[in-house]
C-alpha cells in the first residue's frame, strides 16, 4: 500500500490524477474502520490532512465556502450563525473525539445514506465543488449522491469545498437514534425556510438509497405559506398544515428494514420529525420578527 501525503491542493490533485484508485482520508472516521476490520485494502491512501486549503472556510460572494476538510467541531464553534442547520446536524455526530476529526467533505465522500450532514446540506441547497487537474465543477448536493455510498466523483476528482448561502430564515435538524451520543441515524430530517425566495428546503436521511429532498412537500408548504400570506404576516400556521407537510415528507421516503430500524418506523418517524421541525422553525420565524 502507498501512503501519499500531499502538502498542497495542487499536489493533492496531482496525486489523485496519478493514483486514481487512491482512497482519500481526512478524519479517518470511515476509512480507518474499513482498514481496521480488513474490509477494504486500497492500493493507496491519500492523506488530505496536510492540505491547508481544505481546512479553511471563507465568505465568498455572499456564500460560505466550506473547505472539505473543516471538522464538525469547527462547524459547531465557528459557523453556528452562518450554517445553523449544518451546525445542528454536526452536534449530533458521534462524540467529541469523532467531531474533532470527522469532516463534512468526508461525509460527502462516504455518501452514506445515513450521513448526518446530508439532510442539512440538502435543505440549505448547498453546492459541492469538485476538482481535478482538468478543472473545477460545481453541482447541487442533491445531484452528488448517486447511489448507496456512491457519489458523482470521477476517479481523478477530489471534493474541494461545499458552498452554502447563509440562511434568510430558520433551519432545523432532527435525528432519531437509540441514544443521544454515538448513534448512526435511524432516520433524520433537515428543514430550511427561505423567506427571501419564498421557498422551502428539505433533506431526508437514512430513509432512501441516497439522502434526498422531499420536493413535493417543499412545494406544498411554500405554496401554502404563500397563499395565506404567512411569509409576511408570520401568523400561526393553520391547523393541520404541519401534519400535512409531514405526510408529504413521509411520502418522499423509500426506506428499508435493517438492523437499526424498520421501514415502517422510519416512515412514521419522518412524518413526526417533519411536523415538529416545521413547528419549531415557524416558532423561530415568528420570534425573529
Amino acid at each position: 500500500m502507498d501512503f501519499l501525503q500531499p502538502r498542497s491542493w495542487a499536489e493533492a490533485l496531482e496525486a489523485k490524477a496519478a493514483h486514481p484508485d487512491a482512497v482519500p482520508i481526512a478524519g479517518g472516521t470511515d476509512v480507518m474502520v474499513e482498514l481496521n476490520f480488513d474490509v477494504r485494502r486500497p492500493p493507496a491512501l491519500l492523506d488530505l490532512t496536510r492540505v491547508e486549503e481544505l481546512t479553511e472556510w471563507s465568505m465568498d460572494e455572499g456564500q460560505v465556502r466550506l473547505g472539505a476538510g473543516v471538522t464538525y467541531a469547527r462547524v459547531i464553534t465557528e459557523l453556528g450563525r452562518e450554517l445553523p442547520g449544518l451546525a445542528m446536524a454536526s452536534r449530533t455526530v458521534g462524540s467529541p473525539q469523532i467531531r474533532n476529526r470527522g469532516t463534512v467533505g468526508g461525509n460527502l465522500g462516504a455518501a452514506s445514506p445515513a450521513g448526518d450532514s446530508h439532510p442539512a446540506l440538502l435543505a440549505a441547497e448547498a453546492q459541492v465543488e469538485l476538482a481535478s487537474l482538468s478543472g473545477t465543477r460545481t453541482m447541487p448536493v442533491s445531484d452528488f449522491y448517486t447511489g448507496v455510498k456512491r457519489n458523482a466523483l470521477e476517479p481523478d476528482e477530489l471534493i474541494a469545498a461545499i458552498l452554502i448561502t447563509p440562511p434568510s430564515g430558520p433551519q432545523q435538524f432532527c435525528k432519531i437514534g437509540t441514544r443521544n451520543a454515538m448513534v448512526i441515524a435511524v432516520s433524520a430530517f433537515g428543514l430550511a425556510l427561505h423567506p427571501d425566495r419564498r421557498a422551502v428546503g428539505t433533506g431526508i436521511g437514512s430513509a432512501a438509497p441516497t439522502p434526498r429532498r422531499a420536493r413535493e412537500a417543499e412545494q406544498f408548504l411554500a405554496q401554502a405559506l404563500d397563499e395565506d400570506g404567512l411569509w409576511d404576516s408570520r401568523r400561526d400556521l393553520p391547523a393541520g398544515l404541519a401534519h400535512d407537510f409531514g405526510a408529504r415528507v413521509r411520502a418522499a421516503a423509500a426506506p428499508i428494514d435493517d438492523v437499526r430500524g424498520t421501514a415502517a418506523y422510519r416512515l412514521h418517524s419522518l412524518a413526526v420529525m417533519a411536523r415538529r421541525a416545521l413547528t419549531w422553525a415557524w416558532d423561530d420565524y415568528q420570534k425573529a420578527a
Binding site: M1, D2, F3, Q5, I25, G27, G28, T29, V31, M32, V33, L35, N36, F37, R41, A44, L45, D47, T49, G94, S95, P96, Q97, I98, N100, R101, N180, A181, M182
Partner: protein, 161 residues
C-alpha cells in the same frame, strides 16, 4: 514506512510501519505504550483517546502516517513522574475504576474537559464523556471522579498553584 513523531514530549522514530495501520497500533505495538486501549477499533468506545496536536481523538481512527511530525500525548504522559495527575488521582479515590479498560480514554477525555472548563456542570461532563463507554461502573463513580478533580483543580487555580 518510517514515522517520526513526538510522543509524551519525546521524539520517536519507528520503522516498518504498515501504511494502513492505525496510530493506536503503532503506539501499542511499536512504541511500547499500551496505556491506550484497543476495545472496538471503530471509534465507538473512546478507550484509545489520545491528544493529537492537543486535540482529543480516537487513536484507532488516525492512520499512523497521519501522525508524522505531529505531537501526541497519551495517558502515559499525563502524570508528573511518580505523581498522578489530579484527574488520575480522583479516579483512584472515587472508585471510578473497575475493570480498567475504559479508564485511560476516560482520563484523557476528562483531562481535556478540565483543561477547558474548570467548573463544568453535570450536563457538560456527560457531553464531554459521551464518546467513552464503560460497561462496569454505570458511570456514577466516574462522574464523582470528574467532579472531585474539577474541585481540586479549581482550588489549585484559585490559590495560584
Amino acid at each position: 514506512m518510517r514515522i517520526t513523531t513526538t510522543v509524551n514530549g519525546e521524539p520517536r522514530e519507528i520503522d516498518d510501519v504498515w501504511e494502513g495501520e492505525s496510530l493506536l497500533y503503532a503506539l501499542r505495538e511499536r512504541m511500547g505504550l499500551p496505556g491506550s486501549k484497543n476495545a472496538c477499533d471503530q471509534g465507538e468506545c473512546g478507550s484509545c483517546t489520545v491528544y493529537l496536536d492537543a486535540v482529543p481523538v480516537c487513536a484507532c481512527l488516525v492512520a499512523a502516517g497521519q501522525a508524522q511530525g505531529r505531537d501526541i500525548i497519551t495517558v502515559e504522559g499525563l502524570a508528573e513522574r511518580d505523581t498522578l495527575h489530579p484527574v488520575q488521582q480522583a479516579f483512584v479515590e472515587a472508585g471510578a475504576v473497575q475493570c480498567g479498560f475504559c479508564t485511560p480514554g476516560l482520563i484523557v477525555a476528562a483531562h481535556d474537559l478540565l483543561a477547558r472548563s474548570l467548573q463544568p456542570s453535570d450536563q457538560v461532563i456527560r457531553e464531554a464523556l459521551a464518546g467513552n463507554l464503560c460497561r462496569c461502573t454505570g458511570y456514577e463513580k466516574i462522574l464523582d471522579a470528574v467532579r472531585l478533580a474539577a474541585d481540586r483543580l479549581a482550588d489549585a487555580s484559585a490559590s495560584g498553584r
